[in-house]
C-alpha cells in the first residue's frame, strides 16, 4: 500500500511538471508559426533542403511570402494549400494522412504493434510450456559445491 502511494506520488509530480511545462506558450508568435510552415515545405530549387534551411533566393522569397500571408490573416493550412496548388503535393515534406500516403504512417506503427503482440504471445507460450519447478536435491548440492569452490579459490586460478 505504501509502495503504491509512493508511485502515485511520483506520477503526480510528473503530471504537474508536464502540465506546467506544456501549458500555453508565450512569445512563439508569428515568427514561430512562419518557421514551422517553412520547415514543412521543400525548397523547390535545392536537393533535400527545406525552405527554412535553405539560403537560396527562391527559399528567401517563399519565407517572405509566408510572413506576408500570415500578416494578411491566412491560416497555416491555407498557406500550405496555396503552395500545394502551385507546386503539387511534392512540396510538402510531411506526407498526408489519407489515401496511399497514410501507409507511410500506418505501416511502421502497425508493424511495431504486431511485433509487440507476437512477442507477448511468444512469452505466454514459453511460460505455459515450461512451468518452473523447484530445484532437485542433486542440483542444490552442485550449486553449493560450486559456490564453496569459488569462495575458497579467490585468485587461485593458474
Amino acid at each position: 500500500m505504501r509502495r503504491l502511494l509512493t508511485w502515485a506520488a511520483i506520477a503526480a509530480v510528473i503530471a504537474v511538471a508536464l502540465a506546467l511545462g506544456t501549458g500555453p506558450q508565450s512569445g512563439a508568435g508569428t515568427d514561430g508559426t512562419a518557421d514551422s510552415i517553412a520547415a514543412g515545405l521543400r525548397c523547390p530549387v535545392c536537393q533535400g533542403l527545406s525552405v527554412k534551411d535553405s539560403d537560396s533566393p527562391t527559399a528567401r522569397d517563399i519565407r517572405a511570402d509566408i510572413q506576408r500571408r500570415l500578416a494578411d490573416g491566412d491560416t497555416p493550412g491555407e498557406i500550405r494549400q496555396a503552395y500545394v496548388e502551385r507546386y503539387g503535393e511534392w512540396i510538402l515534406l510531411r506526407p498526408g494522412t489519407s489515401g496511399f500516403e497514410a501507409l507511410v504512417w500506418a505501416i511502421p506503427a502497425g508493424a511495431t504493434a504486431a511485433g509487440a503482440v507476437l512477442l507477448a504471445a511468444a512469452f505466454w507460450r514459453w511460460r505455459r510450456r515450461h512451468r518452473s519447478r523447484p530445484p532437485t536435491e542433486e542440483e542444490r548440492r552442485l550449486v553449493a559445491a560450486a559456490t564453496a569452490t569459488v569462495r575458497a579459490g579467490n585468485g587461485a586460478a593458474p
Binding site: R3, T6, W7, I10, A11, V13, I14, V16, A17, L18, L20, G21, T22, G23, Q25, A39, G40, R42, Q47, G48, S50, D55, G88, E89, W90, I91, L92, L93, R94, P95, F100, E101, L103, V104, W105, I107, P108, A111, T112, G115, A116, L119, A120, A122, F123, W126, R127, R129, H130, S132, T149, V150, G153, N154, G155, A156, A157, P158
Partner: protein, 407 residues
C-alpha cells in the same frame, strides 16, 4: 540466447547498407552522391538481391541449429528488455527505410510525386527514441529470468524520484515543451539508476574490503568491467540525448544586415562587424568578414565567416565560423558578401552542442572500460590468464542478499 535474432539483425544491417548505397549511387533517390551515367545501379541491386536471398535462405535452413535451449521466463526480465530493445531498433530501421523509399513507391503506385522529409522522420523517431531511453534506464535494474515487485521497487524508486523532481524543477524554472521535458525526465531516470548502481556496488565493496573510496571504485570497476563499462556507455547516451534534444529544440537564429561598425544582438550575444577582407586566386575568390562576439561586456573573440566562389561555378560556397562554449555555440555565416558596405550575416545560437561530443567521448571511454581485460584476469607477471571464476557476487546480488534474508 536470441541467436537467430542477432544473426538476422546483423545480416539485415549489412543488406540495408548495400541497399542505401544502391539508392544514392544509382540516382533512384535524388542525391549529391549519385554517379551519373554508370552501370553501378543494376550491379548494386544484383548484389543486394544476392545477399538477401543467400542470408535469408541460410538462416531459414539452419535456424534449428542456431536455436538455444534457453528460454525466457517472463517479459519483465533482462531478456524481455533485450527483446523489446530489438523490436524498437527494428521499428526505427523500418521508419528510415520506408520513409526513404516511399516517394518511389508512391510514384510506382499512381505516378504521383511525393516528398517524405524531416517532419515525418522527427514525428516517427521521437516516440521510438523515448521508448529506447526508457528501456535503457530500466533494463540494468531488471534481473535475469524474472523480476519481482520488491526488487523493481527497490531499484527504481530513487531514479524515478530523480526523474520526477528534475522535470518539476525544470518546468518551474521555465523549461517549456513536451520533448525537452520528457527527455530530461528519462535522462534523470537513467542517470539516477546508473549512480545508484555505482553507489550500491561501492558501498558493498567497502563493507567487504574496507578500502578507501578511490581504490574501492577502481577495484570495483576492474572487477566487473563489462557491467560498469556498460553503465558508463549509458551515461554517454544520456548526455547525447540531452544535447541532441536541447540543441534542436532551443536553437534561435536571425539575419542581420550590417555595415562596418554596426552590431546585431541575439540571446545576449552582440555581434559587431569589425572588418572585411577578400582574397583572389586563379581558382577561387573568397570574401570574409571579421565579426567580434561579446556577451555581457566580455569579449569572446573575433570570428571570420566567409563565402567563396569557384571559377566556372556561379554558386557561392559558405564557410561558417563557430564559437564553441560549454553552454551554447554561436554559429556565424556570411549570407551575402559586403556590397556597398552592407553585408548580410546569419547568427544562430545552439545550446549544449558541445555535449554531443562529450557524450560520444564518454561512450568511447565506457566501451574501452568494458573491453579492457579485467585486472583480475592479469597474473602478477602481467600476462593474460584464463578468467578465474568471479570471486565475489555481483553488486546487485550482494544488495539483494543484504536486504532479503536468505532462507
Amino acid at each position: 540466447m536470441l541467436r537467430v535474432w542477432n544473426l538476422s539483425l546483423v545480416t539485415a544491417t549489412f543488406a540495408l547498407t548495400i541497399f542505401g548505397t544502391f539508392l544514392t549511387r544509382s540516382g533512384a533517390v535524388n542525391s549529391v552522391h549519385a554517379f551519373s551515367q554508370s552501370a553501378i545501379g543494376p550491379l548494386l541491386l544484383g548484389f543486394f538481391t544476392a545477399i538477401v536471398l543467400v542470408s535469408v535462405g541460410l538462416i531459414g535452413w539452419r535456424a534449428d541449429r542456431l536455436r538455444t535451449p534457453g528460454r525466457i521466463d517472463s517479459p519483465i526480465s533482462r531478456e524481455g528488455a533485450f527483446l523489446a530493445n530489438n523490436l524498437l531498433f527494428a521499428a526505427f530501421a523500418l521508419v528510415v527505410l520506408l520513409g526513404t523509399v516511399f516517394p518511389l513507391l508512391a510514384e510506382a503506385y499512381d505516378g504521383r510525386q511525393l516528398s517524405v522529409g524531416e517532419p515525418y522522420f522527427d514525428s516517427m523517431a521521437r516516440p521510438i527514441g523515448f521508448a529506447l531511453l526508457f528501456l535503457m534506464a530500466v533494463a540494468p535494474a531488471l534481473p535475469w529470468r524474472a523480476a519481482g515487485g520488491d526488487v523493481l521497487h527497490r531499484r527504481l524508486v530513487v531514479p524515478a524520484w530523480a526523474a520526477a523532481l528534475a522535470m518539476l524543477a525544470a518546468a518551474v524554472a521555465g523549461l517549456r515543451g513536451l520533448a525537452p521535458l520528457v527527455t530530461l525526465g528519462l535522462a534523470a531516470f537513467a542517470a539516477g539508476g546508473i549512480m545508484r548502481s555505482f553507489a550500491v556496488g561501492l558501498a558493498a565493496r567497502r563493507r567487504g574490503t574496507g578500502e578507501p573510496w578511490a581504490r574501492a571504485l577502481v577495484g570495483m570497476v576492474a572487477g566487473n568491467s563489462r557491467l560498469y563499462g556498460g553503465l558508463i556507455v549509458h551515461l554517454g547516451v544520456v548526455l547525447f540525448a540531452l544535447a541532441f534534444t536541447f540543441s534542436s529544440s532551443f536553437a534561435t537564429e536571425r539575419e542581420a544586415v550590417l555595415r562596418r561598425g554596426e552590431s546585431a544582438s541575439l540571446r545576449g550575444y552582440t555581434v559587431t562587424y569589425v572588418d572585411d577582407a577578400s582574397t583572389r586566386s586563379a581558382r577561387k575568390t573568397s570574401v570574409s568578414v571579421a565579426l567580434e562576439i561579446r556577451k555581457g561586456g566580455r569579449d569572446l573573440g573575433t570570428y571570420e565567416p566567409a563565402v567563396s566562389t569557384f571559377a566556372g561555378s556561379r554558386q557561392a560556397i559558405g564557410t561558417p565560423s563557430v564559437r564553441t562554449g560549454l553552454r551554447e555555440d554561436v554559429y556565424l555565416t556570411l549570407i551575402a558578401a559586403p556590397d556597398n558596405g552592407r553585408a548580410v550575416v546569419g547568427i544562430r545560437v545552439n545550446p549544449l552542442v558541445v555535449w554531443l561530443w562529450v557524450g560520444a567521448g564518454v561512450m568511447v571511454a565506457g566501451t574501452a572500460v568494458a573491453a579492457w581485460p579485467g585486472a583480475r584476469r592479469l597474473t602478477r607477471r602481467g600476462r593474460l590468464a584464463p578468467a578465474p571464476p568471479v570471486a565475489e557476487p555481483a553488486p546487485e546480488r550482494v544488495e539483494d542478499a543484504a536486504v532479503e534474508p536468505v532462507g
